[in-house]
């Protein structure tokens, strides 16, 4: 019936508006919920959210070993050519030639922090770091090589 539907509409509309107003009033009266970080003031104590994406890094263990196999999945996944993998040939102890990464070049100035490379990586070699103070005086400083000099691939990572 038209009238019942009309009244129901008004009732539901008012009710949903009141739910919204209740929520904002909760935030208005509970200042502990404030999420603003007063950044330069709290630089020492700043805690970023766990999933904050600052830049791509390659973690190395204490033996200077990384997990990158040089499969190029990240290079292919990157939408704007931020990552470039440069290879070298390494000799295995058995005397066989093995492809390994020489440099994993990362152009921070092109990166949009979309996280696609990290998700594409099959061996979890790269992760997103939480650093975000990236300004430099020379643009060349933004082109980074992610693997440490002299680093090797970790045993058991194929």
């Amino acid at each position: 019936m038209f009238i019942t539907k009309y009244i129901k509409d008004v009732y539901n509309g008012v009710k949903s508006l009141l739910v919204g107003m209740k929520r904002t009033m909760y935030y208005f009266t509970h200042h502990k919920e404030i999420i603003t970080q007063q950044y330069p003031d709290n630089r020492e104590t700043l805690v970023l959210p766990e999933r904050f994406k600052g830049e791509v890094v390659m973690p190395h263990d204490e033996k200077n070993e990384h997990r990158c196999t040089g499969c190029q999945a990240c290079e292919l996944a990157c939408p704007n050519g931020t990552i470039k993998v440069i290879f070298k040939n390494e000799l295995t102890p058995e005397g066989k030639k093995k492809k390994a990464i020489d440099k994993l070049v990362y152009h921070l100035e092109l990166c949009t922090m979309c996280n696609l490379c990290v998700e594409a990586c099959p061996s979890d070699a790269i992760v997103m770091a939480q650093t975000f103070e990236h300004s430099v005086f020379d643009r060349n400083d933004l082109t980074k090589i992610l693997n440490n000099p002299g680093s090797k691939i970790m045993d058991g990572v194929e």
Binding site: V10, M25, F28, I34, T36
Partner: protein, 358 residues
């Protein structure tokens, strides 16, 4: 006891003793004008910082917190910035209308101040058709907006102005009908009569549910009339950059901005006067002891307290609800608010005739 009306009366007595009646009247008018402009400036500063703080806290932010203690001088700094900025007039604009529009907005706001009772016996002009005067003058608000939109020679501005025209014309109806509910109950259009009729309880309590509905309709309609979110289609940042004041800068923009906030204050003051008793303290029927205790709080504090409460409610709307589309906006008015307030007015009339209110 200290009160606004005492100050006004003492001033009047002193002026009448010193000057002849014509001179007294002229000097009093100048005083009133200066007081209104001063009130405007103070309101602009207070309401802008209030809006920014309220919005920040409702959106889990901190808001301005750098200029002055807790950021309280932020709006003063902004005003200084706007004062020294260049007031640009676009080449293709209709220069006369373009420069006139912000002043019309301000003049309308100033005219609306006249019948508002700020404290007991403290009113600029207690004319016998006060409520009619208010609804007549407040519909002039749209002229300044249309003028600004048309003369800017900008499609966004024109679009915003046209939307605002459609919106104000339709929402004036339900605002008027809900105001009529109080007029029917009181039997007078005079502001002081309406306030005195609430000496034994405010209309929102005395008038049962129909009055509450009238109050809610009034608040919704005036939110739309002052072009504030969720009805801010005239500005609609995400669609029309800034709507009718896209082309304005510097002090001319500041006048529009100030007029918006002053209009909010005025409609809230009128809402407080009609439904919440204006400067009338919180009285319950014949409980004389309780009423005397309430009378100790000065009437100006009651008035400004109620007004700022309503302003807070309107800000609360703004920072909670998403903006309506133009068809939703007109649906809300013509399909919901107008029929509801019409039926409500009928019920209120029946109540007034049968004396069902307290």
């Amino acid at each position: 006891m200290w009160s606004f009306s005492n100050i006004a009366n003492n001033l009047h007595d002193w002026l009448s003793k010193t000057f002849n009646p014509t001179m007294t009247l002229i000097i009093e008018m100048v005083f009133a004008g200066v007081a209104v402009i001063g009130l405007f400036a103070a309101l602009g500063l207070v309401l802008v910082i209030m809006e920014r703080k309220v919005s920040a806290w409702m959106q889990i932010r901190l808001g301005p917190n750098r200029v002055g203690p807790k950021g309280m001088l932020q709006s003063l700094a902004d005003t200084l910035k706007l004062l020294v900025k260049e007031g640009l007039t676009p080449n293709g604009a209709d220069k006369f209308l373009f420069n006139l529009a912000p002043f019309i907005a301000m003049i309308v706001a100033m005219l609306l101040m006249a019948p508002i009772a700020f404290a007991k016996d403290f009113q600029l002009w207690d004319l016998n058709i006060g409520v009619l005067y208010v609804s007549a003058i407040s519909s002039l608000m749209v002229i300044s907006i249309l003028m600004a939109g048309w003369s800017s020679n900008n499609k966004y501005s024109l679009m915003g102005a046209m939307r605002s025209g459609a919106q104000i014309v339709s929402y004036e109806l339900s605002a008027g009908l809900s105001v009529l509910a109080v007029v029917v109950m009181t039997g007078s259009l005079q502001v002081s009569d309406i306030i005195h009729s609430q000496a034994d309880g405010w209309w929102i309590f005395k008038g049962h549910i129909p009055m509450l509905i009238a109050f809610v309709t009034f608040i919704i309609a005036v939110t739309a009339e002052t072009n504030r979110a969720p009805f801010d289609l005239a500005e609609a940042e995400s669609e029309l950059t800034a709507g009718f004041h896209t082309e304005y800068s510097g002090m001319k923009f500041a006048l529009f901005f100030l007029a918006e906030y002053v209009n909010v204050f005025i409609v809230c003051a009128i809402g407080a006067t009609l439904f919440l008793g204006g400067w009338m303290p919180f009285h319950i029927g014949n409980w004389t002891d309780f009423n005397h205790v309430m009378d100790y709080i000065p009437s100006s504090i009651w008035f400004f307290g109620k007004t700022f409460f309503l302003i807070f409610v309107i800000m609360w709307f703004r920072w909670t609800f998403p903006r309506l589309r133009i068809d939703q906006l007109l649906n809300l008015e013509w399909k919901y608010l107008l029929p509801i307030s019409m039926i409500n007015l009928l019920i209120v009339t029946a109540m007034a005739i049968l004396k069902w209110h307290f």
